[in-house]
Symmetry: C2
Subunit: 385 residues, 2 copies
């Protein structure tokens, strides 16, 4: 693995493919910390295993486990899933596993971008993809981050590139999580203002400078800024919980018809932005509304099963969680989506099945993932083919 500092993916002819393009594999992390996952993470682990198993039907899944949990993870995961030891602070592969970028061989030839790759002869077969190692500060650092320290999480992107024998772009001076971006693979990126302009991430950078980093590292030309995300989403409202590309020019948007729900105005504001937007190819965006489940709130019993973080409880009884069906993972042959035992579960599944006619939509009861603070998209990171 070379650590690349003086160049960017765009300069090297790389771009981030869309999630619906073919994958070579998927990265997950085994959940462990007792202030994220209720009652010692036992229920969460079962849900993670279900997610991994479905993805493993069409992708090579690699699960990273801390040293103390390796044996347990190995015992719980089916044999076709690879378990590797890797230190972590928590289990959000989407946010701190590498963002992968790709350079097509044809592009290389056409654009004459093939460089000498000294010392990397053995990686020749995999040299088409590279990773990006963004800075990670637990969604807001000392200002409004969610735990401390986050050093092991921040080290994972580089370690994963090393493991996969792909070169890595060092962009640790720019704080970004994988869940805060969605791309269409054709030059467009979706983000939220609440997250990318948050005071806890890159407070000294202008919106233009942030856009320029996205362009250079994701190999895109157009950034669509949604104003916000899902109500109470403690990541400063990651885009991957409210809006996702299902194909170039088409997105799903989390939606409620309940005008009394604070989410109503938020989803409506996003819709208005999307209706005004033009993507990198000059297209208008087609928006498919995906219903939200009824508010999901913490029970007293669940709260009792969580260790405290710093000097206060991690969650309080009645606290509303940022439940959304948009937080799904697009695997090679499946779409893995959350369910909440909610009346809207079935309708949301139908909508996604219609939008992904060539993939089987599998719904997994995800309350135990949601309690940790995210959902299926948050705990997975695809490796492009």
């Amino acid at each position: 693995m070379r650590i690349l500092k003086d160049t960017t993916p765009m300069a090297d002819g790389f771009h981030m493919p869309a999630e619906f393009e073919p994958h070579r594999g998927c990265i997950m992390i085994f959940p462990e910390r007792a202030d994220s996952w209720q009652y010692g993470a036992y229920a969460a682990r079962k849900a993670f295993v279900q997610v991994a198993e479905v993805i493993s039907r069409s992708e090579q899944v690699t699960v990273c486990a801390g040293a103390a949990q390796y044996d347990n993870a190995r015992a719980m995961m089916p044999p076709q899933i690879r378990v590797v030891e890797m230190s972590n602070n928590d289990a959000w592969a989407r946010d701190y596993a590498p963002t992968f970028v790709k350079r097509d061989i044809d592009d290389q030839r056409n654009q004459g971008l093939r460089e000498a790759e000294p010392g990397c002869e053995n990686n020749a077969g995999v040299s088409e993809i590279r990773g990006i190692d963004w800075g990670f500060n637990a969604w807001g650092g000392l200002l409004d981050g969610l735990y401390f320290p986050w050093d092991k999480d921040n080290a994972m992107a580089r370690k994963l590139c090393d493991l996969l024998a792909v070169d890595v772009y060092d962009k640790r001076d720019f704080i970004l999580e994988g869940g805060s971006i969605h791309v269409d693979g054709e030059g467009t990126c979706l983000v939220t203002e609440t997250c990318l302009l948050s005071a806890g991430r890159n407070p000294d950078m202008s919106r233009e400078e942030i856009e320029e980093n996205l362009r250079q590292y994701l190999g895109i030309s157009t950034v669509i800024w949604l104003p916000c995300g899902i109500y109470q989403d403690e990541t400063n409202e990651h885009v991957d919980n409210i809006c996702a590309f299902v194909k170039p020019g088409e997105v799903v948007l989390a939606w409620t018809e309940d005008e009394n729900d604070p989410q109503y105005a938020m989803s409506k504001a996003c819709l208005e932005t999307l209706e005004q937007a033009v993507d990198a190819k000059g297209r208008k965006i087609k928006v498919h509304k995906l219903p939200l489940p009824r508010p999901v709130t913490m029970t007293a019993e669940e709260c009792e099963g969580l260790d405290a973080c710093w000097d206060e409880p991690t969650r309080r009884p009645g606290e509303r969680l940022a439940a959304s069906y948009v937080n799904f993972y697009i695997a090679n042959k499946h779409v893995v989506m959350p369910g909440f035992n909610d009346p809207a579960d079935e309708r949301a599944k139908q909508i996604l099945q219609e939008l992904f006619p060539e993939r089987e939509v599998v719904q997994i009861y995800a309350r135990d993932i949601l309690i940790g603070g995210g959902n299926i998209h948050c705990i997975t990171q695809q490796i492009p083919e």
Copy 2:
């Protein structure tokens, strides 16, 4: 990775190839512990890097580093070498990385041994090799083992098979280190009685039961029992420090002409055994004598740079180390051998160069590896192609 318990490599048509057959890669472990490696392992690490670099010219090298040393190992190792995080108690890849066995595709077809491999569809491309996870107890457990605990070392074989996505035979009920066996790839295995019959390993097993385990797991038919190894070799005299195959039917044997050296009688006893031996193919063994360096002993300054282990010093000034040129690694295009700044260095190198005319012999000053208790063969483990 499947964990295989109810079958053996021989039953499945697998056998251990010789080290001089083609490799797909090599495993090493980054040295760390302060009671093994003098003055915080800084000098030892440089030697490990040199060894890894030479091997990486013709093989993919994977270096395992404990969590605290990952960044340092990554910074020291050249970029073509893969560094992965893996807990360890010390750095002896030969002894507790997996022993790999191989099944040729043709053999499979001919012998009709191909089984259904449920759940391992994604591993299809690598299903020809499997690992063996022997029990490891730090060269003698609580009786005469060299450190405690050894749990992390003992877990590495399985983790490495998982990392490489190859199935593993669980043979943890049999204590064996990779350095205590050498095979010719044609049915013959070399061992020493002092090691394999030691009281600290498998005291309840007879010589015949031990032989049967070697036959079943290495896929061999003939075991040649040398009486002993190198004087003062604290592994109970591993075979890999005194005798090694250079091709089927031919070995090198560590040798001294000094009749006053305790090693003289030991090497002579081994020679007599080899002269009487017949290998699996019915051949007599051709023995090439490889000179030993003059006795290498610990200096007071070196001893001061070692932490204590249990309640006594790890090494004492004047203590003789088990220096031997036989402790080399056969890489695809190189033979990596130790040097000791000894007058015999050059002659030993010449002999090996004549025996390996198609490989370049590279000699690395290895005193800092030797102080740890082994040498270049001990810190490497090949992965067959």
